[in-house]
Amino acid sequence: MDALNHLLAGFGEALTWQNLLFALFGTVLGTLVGVLPGVGPTSGIAILLPLTAFLPPTPAIIMLAAIYYGAMYGGSTTAILVNIPGEVASVVTTLDGYQMARQGRAGPALAIAAISSFVAGTLGLVGLTFFAPALADLALRVGPPEYFGLVVLAFSVVVSLSGASLLKGLAAGALGILVALVGLDPQSGVRRFSLGTAELLGGIDFIAVIVGLFAIAEVLLAVERRAAAVSLAPIGRLMPSWADIKRCTGAMLRSTGIGFALGMLPGCTPGAISFVAYDVERRVSPSRAQFGQGAIEGVAAPEGANNATTSAGFVPLLALGLPSTPALAVLLSGLQIYGLQPGPLLFEKQPAFVWAVIASMYIGNVMLLVLNLPLVGLWARLVHVPYAVMGPMILVFSVVGAFSVRNTLFDVGVAVAFGVIGYVMTRLGYPTAPMVLALILTPLGESALRQTLSMAGGSPVLLATRPLAALFIVIGVALTAWSLVARRKRPEAFESTG
């Protein structure tokens, strides 16, 4: 057990008071960054990057990594309490989490999010510890045709997220596709829908759209219904019951598997992965009828998937030097500043450093659980804060968040515009989740398809001849068909979702 020995040595290094302190600092900051809508781990890490000029590499990277995985814990908080995903990956958590909060079950929702994050994050680390270099080689074998297959598979979720009206769900999905098409064509550089402006040429920023669709639209809706607070229901128990935890065990394990497997692929975005995990749970859960109305598994699954994805993202990063998210790209530049070039040689040349960072991630996950569970009581009370206070604060954070992504006012305008769009959509009964999913998947799918075509002189033959790609497509089509049949048989089960 070579890896185990290395890991134990890593714990020796990670448990020094200095490294513990930086891990704690990183996890607290990460939680904070995750809680604030718009301010994501990318800016969190970038802001602290200059500290690397003063710190030795091990504590610095421990801290920066902790911000990254800590943000995944924090992202669920606002998603559950006020229907605002703190991170892209927490969009799905709003579906059932916010419903739970409105029913006075914010406590168990927040707690199960933390527990599921911990379980999946830690199991993901076990995968990272023992299989990183081998898995990284496998991940490289997944190319454009397979990515396109995965996108087809993930698109099948649009049908099950569509709520009462399939047509409205598909319309929302189509709108998402249109929004994603704005900007430069990724293969030929042709300008699309840019109206001659440089801002639109850069594409519509995803974070700004999410902030608008969720945060700003939710404030508009709350003001309209003269909400006194998010929930007037008494705060019941804070912790989930044993029955809740038992109900979620399967969801946590399945979402860990899905999150880790897909999270290793450098081309997959965490946002899409949590949608897939949620959909799987909805199909296999005995209480599937409750999904969308406050099913606790609906919180456990996406949160588990997020954190397994986060752990898995370190596989291609450390073993190949390939970042799968913008935040990991910043982390990569942090490593490069120290001359620690991630890649196949990192494990050989800098074992003490790599294993100290991996060991610190186990410790960091424990810290996050210990940190987040006591906070549940405090957060849960936020649902009773008068909306006259809550609403303006949400708007302030939204504007700051949208601005901070690219430091331009244009993105604030985008957020406001999508706030109005989100408001209108909700009022007319169009679900926003399929739009978000389409927005995430379209760039990935378009590039993957056109790369696949380019690889074979313009022929789609690779989608059929590469077994994995073909398998994904077949499963995607089958799942879509299954959803359509289920919809016809039991339309009432879809009445209130989305």
């Binding site: 030929s188 190949l320 990569l332 530049s333």
Partner: protein, 333 residues
């Protein structure tokens, strides 16, 4: 080598404090303080973690250490770097807002795009700082051992020749096309696969989804060192320190290959001469500082100093070089 890396650096903090105290004592009544008087921002038009960002952090680290004033990097990605460039061009020319100039917002952009929303003359050039040379690579277990063999194979069978590019009008678009044209390959018949950046293009090469790539040193180095991909030639007058066994393009039989990625420092129009001179002197000193050179090598950058006039001259020559190429490849818009 590792000693300096692992040593905690408290010196800059002390330097900042010392400089502040010193200034307060000496210059309290003086009206004209010497530049820089406060924090300097270097704006990067791309996300953190890319080649431009790494170069900006090299420069900011060195300058803050030498001057004892904070020099920070501000990332402002959007519209392929044009948003940030425009913003800096409209900034106050007091030397406290500068930007990381790079081929992608300068010579290469003007070659591939006819309606850039600013002019190259709008920038005040300060200095060229780094080169990021192109390295031609194949998969680790590829049958092709030399650049000549790649050329033969592509000529013999262009329809099954697949290559990956890290962007439509990026360095690789020029470097790979230049090679294919030089080798006499019928380019329109080949399979061009465009990826979102250098890293995914090289991952596709390592995974065997494409057969050939021509990305930059900083992007390709980790995968070459890890033996996932193999370097065939580097476009540089000399061999690179990390790859003494990889021949130069000239040695490989293609002396005409000359595409290069670069990074430098520029500012808004009408930047005062003393600011330009001070930065240029600092960066010239950096180009001779062994510690700085070593740091640059760790992030796979070649340090090349060119002062304001030479840098401007260089950009003009680069533009002249790429303009006909962009038209030939068909990426000029």
């Amino acid at each position: 080598m590792m000693r300096s890396v692992f040593r905690p650096r408290v010196a800059p903090v002390a330097a900042v404090v010392a400089a502040l105290v010193f200034q307060m004592m000496l210059l309290a009544p003086a009206s004209a303080q010497e530049y820089p008087t406060r924090q300097i921002e270097i704006v990067v038009g791309f996300a953190p973690g890319g080649g431009a960002d790494v170069a900006a952090r090299l420069i900011s680290g060195y300058a803050s250490k030498k001057w004892g004033k904070p020099v920070t990097v501000v990332n402002q990605p959007g519209a392929s770097g044009m948003t940030a460039t425009r913003q800096v061009i409209n900034a106050r020319p007091d030397g406290h807002t500068l930007f990381l100039d790079v081929h992608a917002v300068s010579s290469m952009l003007f070659a591939s795009q006819s309606d850039v929303p600013y002019r190259m003359e709008d920038k005040t050039p300060i200095a060229l700082v780094t080169f990021d040379p192109v390295i031609y690579t194949v998969k680790a277990d590829s049958p092709w051992k030399t650049l000549k063999e790649v050329a033969e194979a592509a000529k013999a069978n262009p329809k099954s020749f697949r290559y990956g590019l890290g962007g439509v009008a990026a360095v690789a678009a020029f470097s790979v096309s230049q090679f294919l044209h030089a080798a006499g390959v019928p380019v329109p018949e080949t399979n061009k696969v465009v990826f979102a950046g250098g890293a995914p293009a090289l991952a596709a090469l390592a995974g065997g989804h494409v057969d050939f790539a021509g990305q930059q040193w900083s992007e390709a180095a980790p995968l070459i060192l890890g033996k996932k991909i193999r370097a065939l030639a580097v476009v540089h007058p000399t061999r690179l320190p990390t790859f003494p066994d990889v021949p130069t393009a000239k040695e490989a039989g293609f002396p005409e290959l000359n595409v290069v990625g670069w990074q430098g420092l520029s500012g808004p129009p009408k930047l005062p001469a003393n600011v330009v001179a001070k930065w240029s002197a600092l960066l010239e000193a950096a180009s001779k500082d062994p510690e700085f050179l070593q740091q640059a090598e760790k992030v796979y950058k070649v340090i090349v100093h060119k002062g304001p006039e030479a840098f401007w001259q260089f950009q003009q020559e680069e533009l002249k070089k790429y303009l006909p190429m962009a038209t030939q490849i068909g990426i000029r818009k």
